[in-house]
């Protein structure tokens, strides 16, 4: 803030000073809180912030019970559809900032994700699928970083209203949603491959060119296995990235202090929580969506390719 107003040297020194003051406040806070409340705490059994990962059924419908993950899934779907349709309806020749950002995303999906992995004809056909996957996963990840009152395990009192305490959760931090997405991807590229080459041709196409005899049989089984492993790797990559991000934000931003009952520890970990939050929102959310969509496009392109 000050850095941009002043000259280069002045801006640099004032930014440095701000940083030093912040570091001083941080270390001083640890010392003061440590001195006041002590470095030993008692384990807190009353309020368990880790319950934000617990799925509690709100509407009981057997296996179709509605819980937090369903809410986040619906929210992400609505956010994706509404925002994209709204922007598409209001397209202008001179784009404003939001439209420019969406157009940038569109370019990314069109050229980098689908365009580089498939032929032109196929890219035109599969672009909606890959693009929708990308946007949905990105929205789902990003919504996960907005604190919403969903932790029904604990209530907080605001002006006489008992509202559930605020927590972070994402649809993609639940194993089942990435798994379903990965299964959809698996079936669509298998379908596309079988349609392009026929069932026998597709299975033959799994063997790389130039391999014959007994070696080909072994390679074939390995390739079939690796095809199924793709489901697992797509799922775990997305799920574990988002879950681990949420867990570490949770613990750094105060849960560790709350569970262990050490006040100074909370102050100590808070800056790391803020940094990790920025890292997750700024990089991981979009990057994981990008990876998922890129791999989908690569698998789709590979399924119809003559040789691999």
């Amino acid at each position: 803030m000050n850095a941009t107003e002043g000259g280069t040297t002045k801006g640099k020194s004032s930014a440095k000073r701000t940083l030093l003051i912040l570091a001083g406040v941080w270390i001083g806070g640890i010392v003061v809180l440590g001195a006041i409340y002590g470095l030993h705490g008692t384990r807190n059994k009353v309020y368990e912030p880790q319950n934000e990962f617990k799925l509690e059924s709100w509407v009981h419908l057997g296996i179709f019970s509605i819980n937090k993950a369903v809410l986040y899934l619906v929210l992400a779907a609505i956010a994706t559809c509404v925002s994209m349709i709204y922007i598409a309806r209001r397209m202008q020749a001179r784009p404003n900032k939001v439209q420019a950002a969406v157009e940038l995303l569109y370019e990314l999906m069109r050229n980098q994700i689908t365009g580089s992995a498939m032929s032109e004809e196929m890219a035109a056909k599969w672009f909606p699928f890959v693009g929708a996957l990308f946007l949905f996963i990105m929205f789902s990840n990003l919504i996960g970083y907005i604190p919403l009152p969903t932790n029904t395990e604990h209530k907080i009192d605001i002006a006489g209203l008992h509202i559930p305490s605020f927590s972070l959760y994402a649809a993609t931090a639940n194993l089942s949603i990435p798994l379903v997405l990965a299964l959809v991807v698996f079936f669509s590229y298998t379908y596309e491959g079988v349609r392009a080459k026929g069932p026998i041709g597709y299975l033959k196409g799994l063997i790389p060119g130039g391999v014959h005899g007994g070696m080909a049989v072994a390679i074939f089984f390995l390739e079939v296995l690796s095809n199924f492993m793709r489901i697992l790797s797509l799922t775990i990559r997305l799920f574990a990235n988002i879950l681990a991000g949420h867990l570490i934000i949770l613990f750094m931003a105060g849960a560790l202090a709350v569970i262990l009952g050490i006040t100074a520890l909370g102050w100590f970990t808070l800056p790391f929580g803020v940094l990790l939050f920025a890292f997750e929102v700024g990089l991981v959310a979009a990057l994981q969506a990008f990876i998922f969509a890129t791999l989908t496009a690569i698998y789709l392109g590979g399924a119809v390719a003559e040789d691999h």
Partner: protein, 90 residues
């Protein structure tokens, strides 16, 4: 066998199982982090090398770099998930 000895052995096996689970979590998380750390370092190092050699390829290299980063990072999570499975579920 004496009752005391049996209870002692039972307690010892329980402790050993706990220790094994902790080792599983430590190896899964720790070695996974080591491998992924080395891999991510190699990817970014090579990307920097490639960009300094051919700055005009920057965009393509950056895209590949992020792809490689995410694929490598995922390997850490495979280890971590296996460790968590060993510690809490098995």
């Amino acid at each position: 066998m004496h009752i005391a000895l049996i209870t002692l052995l039972a307690a010892a096996t329980e402790e050993t199982a706990k220790a094994g689970k902790s080792i599983g979590l430590g190896v899964g998380g720790g070695l996974g982090a080591v491998g992924a750390g080395v891999g991510i370092g190699i990817i970014f190092g090579k990307a920097i090398e490639a960009i300094t050699r051919q700055p005009e390829m920057r965009d393509e290299i950056t895209q590949l770099q992020w792809l490689g980063f995410a694929l490598t990072e995922a390997c850490f999570f495979y280890g971590l998930v296996a460790g968590l499975l060993a510690a809490f579920i098995v």
